[in-house]
Amino acid sequence: MSVSQEPIIKTTKLTKIYETGFRGEEVKALIDLDLEIYSGEIFGYLGPNGSGKTTTIKLLLGLIFPTYGEIFVLGTSDINSPAVKKNIGYLPEGAFYPDFLRGEEILHFYGQLYGLTGRELRKRVDYVLDLVGMTHARRRMLKGYSKGMRQRIGLAQALISDPKILILDEPTTGLDPIARKEIRDILARLRDEGKTLFISSHELLEVEMISNRVGILFDGVLRVSGTLDELLEIKDRIVEFANATEDKIKIIIDKGGEIFDQIDSKVFLRAKSDDDIYNVIELGRSVGLSLVKITPRRESLEELFVRVITSAEAERRTKNE
């Protein structure tokens, strides 16, 4: 997989303000969003409910219109042109499709809208049904599908034209762990095929596992954006020792040592800073443990998310006061 230096999706100062109620009260759903998504990358778009994720996706797809700001997809601002949309596959949150059609009929219909016909269309329908594991249910009416099946058929319709860009809004929400793992595997496979994936999700662990870059949105503002290496801070250092026994561990705890983990005769102690590493090593040696290695531990995406959102909420509270 190679990531291009030319953004395939770019927004500049993208802003969406809704007017609600009789008085036309303004609700700022998205404020000055500058975003660049590069060809071949997986971008995880994160944020709590109501932060503006779906608004961004609707703007990118031309379903709603910006109050101001610009959107470029594949180098053009005419994002509604069929030439651009031929290269985009979209999976909406909740998967809404005509219930009166069978699984394969849905795919035929959407495939036709992409200009696919005849044998090419049939081959593509067979391929995507197989990819999402829905071949067995292809002739069943959609109203008889479970939530997971609807999500899979939704992913299949997004992939029907073999698009360059996939925009996925909460692709694994509401799925059981096995279905989630399967969807995640499909996404990883698409990443390996060089597709550009824009994934809006609440599932932080999943995003962390497959994304190259992430952006965190709060109150319509993109708070942070970058690669995981750039964003995830070194949280602490883990010092690994061998020859641990219950007695030795008890002494360490009594002396103020912080146990991170314990596996058989190995014990992992947490050092809060570089300077603290020496104290931890000294503590381990003092009870007869043998030093194995020292590993820096990066914070998880979940920890980053909580850190960013907590700070944004505090900022909002200060502003309101």
Partner: protein
Amino acid sequence: MSKVIEFVKGPWYIAVYTWREGLRRKTLVGFLILSLLVIFGATFMTSFLNQATVGDVTTDMDLKLIKDICVTTISIFGVLITIFISASVVPVEVENRIIYTVLSKPVRRFQYLLGKFLGAQLIIIMNLCLMGGLFFVALYIKQRILPTLLLWSVFLTYFEFLIVSALTFAVACASSSSVLPTIAGLFIYITGSLTEYLKDVYNRSGQTGEFLDSLIGYLAYILWNILPNLQRFSLKTQIVNSQPNDPPTDVLIPQLVLYALIYAVSGYIIAYWIFRKREV
């Protein structure tokens, strides 16, 4: 040429899908079955009762009554189906959010609307063909004369429905539920069928010299000018009173078709103008 075909393909696929969706709508199918039952009952059942009471002689009065009931049934159920489908094809997709997946495909909003409108027309035409076809067969069995006048009537009724459909569709494109456009469609049909009375109201206004009287006259005049005159499309009196194979009289069919097409195109343009910047 290939560009034109490419352009038309999208709307056509959407039209066929809309038509298939319509066939599975319970309300729509209910209206259709009910209308077919009324036509069937009015023709075949009355024939059975006549034979039971006065032998196999069907009086002129009976036949006129049957024709009257059937033409009215086609008109009422036909317009209800027309309004119901035209008022709902777009709002239902917005409500169910199916529109997200369709508009995110390589389809312009103009094409999407064209597809939905054509799909509604396919449903209206199919319903008219079923109702008109049953009446056609029944009349032929009763009179042993091909009722060609009925074919002209069904043809003109479609263009009457086309006007109602296009204007209802335009209202539907501004609405997020099908309730308001349904009410608007009924209003368009009722007032469109009464435009001659509106002219009459205008002609009689101003006689008392009161402000309200003049205002009502003025409003009637505006509505008379804007609203289509749907009565022009009716061959009911002729169907009821003439021989089934008489040619249509007192109507200029090409002019009426053109008249309907002008309203239909205007309705579609208004619909697109509303929908092109609508946020979904």
